[in-house]
Point group: C2
Chain length 504, copies 2
């Protein structure tokens, strides 16, 4: 074995050993959310902190840096999209990033966000933004310092965005989201003006939880989530996590009197899970076996939740089974009424309860506001006013309290600045991927009507999942769709589906 190859092998072993610890940490966290006894939380937090520290030591080990410097200059790194090249490139990118942020800043951020989340909980409960604003200002200041440490070419926000969506640039994302907003606002207004409202009350009938479990499991299995390599559990806040190459766990919450909550939640998390299960397990713990970016990850969940799961063809297949499982609720409901109900669009105040169309406006508001703060154009004290103005302007409604306004999300208090836009990037990528799949695979609707989700899932496996981090999000988007990021398809898909419902 050449010296380079032996050094590369050493690098992979180091990374894979670290992944034994990161996947163990993920188990500690999954267990904390799902199974931990009520009084065991403090010790679990200590365990997590200790293990995170051990992982950080490994990830910033100067010997790792030397190895990466050496390999980055070798011919193994030449083809940056090859498995080998991507491994060196991405491990080096992460190492450099971690090494750039001073340890003191890491500690200050950890402390400020820990305090921040507790203060946020209280502020939301007491509807008192003022009690939280100084801490939020501090967190944003630290995030600015983090951006400065990381460095950037364009604006400081680029550095923050890059943590979640490597390779994405603020001005490009902003251009697309601006265009999306310009077209979404009139669409939503048009729908409101139509005066029509689908029979949404049918979704609020009684759906026994055990049968929701059966149905959710059946549907997720059918679309391709592999329960031999995963689990489904119950948590207040649904999520998807992976604890190993064959261990992807999703969660949901059940509401006996609301069909959407668990069903579309399970489709959403299954989409994340199918992505994780589609990564090449032989590269587990290495960049070619890791998800590309948060935006790409979100595209996979949105594809199954909205573009597949809210399509008429999906329900042409699944609705008879739904009526069989929930006769009391659905026997008297025609398919078309059900289809209209699950596609109802209406401005609302809470992001996580928003429909497919207005959801993006919630995101755009947050994306605009956090940029304004980072750029120094907006003071955190003025956030509630700016928030309410934007809701009025884009959605035509404004929160009457900060609890259902600017205090609704945990993200900023946790230091997640630059994160929100990845939700809308997910919707945009989803729409473009879906169109590309249709172009290549033909009549997807007819397949879905027959309950055949395999060709579409395999297409995703091959075009997206198997590539891991060999390409950045923007590169992957271009590779799969032949185009750059654009809002046109998302708009067209929404209009195509919603026009007949609302008679637009």
């Amino acid at each position: 074995m050449s010296n380079e190859k032996s050094r590369f092998k050493q690098l992979c072993q180091q990374a894979q050993e670290t992944s034994y610890l990161t996947s163990t940490l993920a188990l500690l966290e999954w267990d904390q959310q799902t199974k931990l006894p009520a009084l065991a939380d403090d010790y679990r937090s200590d365990q997590i902190t200790f293990l995170a520290g051990e992982i950080h030591k490994r990830q910033t080990d100067p010997r790792l840096g030397d190895l990466l410097d050496e390999l980055a200059d070798s011919k193994l790194a030449a083809d940056k999209s090859s498995d080998t090249g991507a491994t060196i490139r991405e491990l080096k990118r992460e190492f450099d990033k971690r090494s750039k942020i001073p340890a003191t800043l890491v500690q200050e951020l950890a402390k400020a966000t820990s305090v921040g989340q507790t203060m946020w909980v209280h502020a939301r409960r007491n509807n008192n933004f003022g009690s939280f604003s100084p801490q939020l200002k501090k967190i944003f200041e630290l995030k600015k310092a983090e951006a400065e440490s990381l460095g950037f070419e364009g604006c400081p926000y680029d550095a923050l965005l890059d943590e979640y969506e490597p390779g994405a640039k603020t001005h490009e994302v902003a251009a697309v989201l601006d265009a999306l907003r310009s077209d979404l606002v009139p669409l939503v207004a048009e729908i409101a003006a139509s005066g029509y409202s689908p029979p949404v009350e049918i979704l609020r009938r009684q759906f026994p939880i055990e049968l929701q479990q059966v149905f959710g499991r059946e549907a997720s299995t059918k679309i391709g989530f592999d329960y031999g390599r995963g689990r489904l559990d119950v948590t207040p806040h649904p999520f998807c996590t992976e604890l190993g190459p064959n261990d992807c766990r999703i969660t949901t919450r059940y509401d006996e009197y609301f069909f959407n909550s668990s069903f579309f939640g399970i489709l959403h998390e299954s989409g994340h899970g199918i992505y994780e299960q589609g990564l090449r397990s032989e590269f587990y713990g290495l960049p070619p076996g890791k998800y590309c970016s948060l935006g790409i990850h979100e595209s996979q969940s949105r594809l199954w939740e909205n573009l597949v799961g809210r399509s008429i063809s999906f329900w042409q297949y699944f609705y008879p089974r739904a009526q069989e499982l929930f006769p009391a609720a659905l026997q008297d409901v025609p398919l078309n009424d059900f289809f209209q109900a699950i596609n109802h669009v209406s401005p609302s105040l809470i992001r996580v309860e928003a429909d497919e169309a207005t959801y993006n406006l919630h995101i755009i508001i947050r994306f605009e506001l956090e940029q304004a703060i980072i750029n120094g154009e907006l003071d955190t004290d003025d956030l509630p006013m700016a928030w309410n103005e934007k809701y009025e302007q884009y959605l035509g409604i404004a929160p009457s309290t900060d609890a259902e306004g600017v205090l609704q999300d945990v993200h900023w208090s946790a230091g997640l600045v630059g994160y929100f836009s990845t939700y809308s990037l997910g919707n945009l990528y989803a729409s473009q991927f879906f169109e590309a799949a249709r172009d290549e695979l033909g009549d997807l609707d007819s397949m879905f009507r027959d309950g055949d989700f395999v060709p579409f899932k395999q297409w995703l496996n091959e075009k997206i999942h198997r590539l891991g981090q060999c390409y950045s999000g923007p590169e992957l988007g271009h590779r799969v769709t032949g185009q750059g990021l654009s809002h046109q398809l998302l708009l067209r898909q929404l209009r195509d589906k919603l026009s007949p419902i609302y008679g637009l």
Copy 2:
């Protein structure tokens, strides 16, 4: 702070940090048994191996050895039963033990037992002891080498016993178990000769699993297992594990057509759990906060399972509730019939299904056989014959196949030699502790009849649990009972309960 005290603080921190990792390892194992997706097992094994290696590195770090040498000579170690003295003494004992076994032997044993367990599974399935015997011989040879590395004063078996029951000596344990055997064999024969058989078929009626869950949870809560600091899950092989100072998890298995399986299993594991929950959490990860020995641990499970859970007073309190939950099975069954049925004694071939009295004979057989092998008096090839002879001699029955004979237990294939006797030590300690509690607390039966298990549990907390490893098993036994290990009380308790049932 004096130099000694600061060094001691350093020692405690090292040990407590290690316990973050050992408790994390315990979670990886618990999850493997209870929640792991079917195809995730290989990676989980790799995770466990890696983490165990990291823990071993910490536990054999020469700097730890230096620290322990220094502290062992300090005045902090002078009172060896104080929390501080016990911490130094026990950490040093463990460090020395780990350092004595050569790394090559550790690896050989790990490999031989890993292979051994797989071969054992096949041998048991195919009822083919011959295919397993050479590997078993190898494992015993390695255990002999381990005993030599560890060193001993009396016989090599002492070194192996000491791993599970520190401070116990083979000749002492053998003397008590010999005496126990001499008295048990005639008792069991007398029972058989009585010709009477309790109505055991009532325990094989239908007991709906959901109601077994309710009843098991109620009873375990009542005797003192704290579900705010623990959980109950389902596994094929029941166990108890602790994942932190407030996180003790027990498991059980349900058989819809056999009452005993889950109910007494839950009492048994709750007994282990109540011990873990009774340790002082401020010493978590340190010897004063760790269980004393396997024998003492087992005594706690046997106390609740047998001495409390199979007593008439326990059922005077619980039987009405049992009849309420299982009317179809128990409505027509008088308490006394039920009491007789759960105390049925009858020789059987399988240890884990044995009753309270004959169980010890199963243990004594294994204890005698493994000593004979370690002493070179018995070749593994001749084990089946020796096994069957002893079953004939002590229990009056002999297995017709090795699968239900010498191949029934996993222990030896896993390298657990010296372990079995701790089960009977548990029964012996339980009988002596129970008598001591009765002497000090008065009429326990009357308390149990009233459903008041608190005084007895608190007595165990105070006399046993809170002492952790401040005393060895033999020391603790003496301290609590004022006597050495003896079989007299166990025999008397059995006779007192069984004589009226069988008219002895």
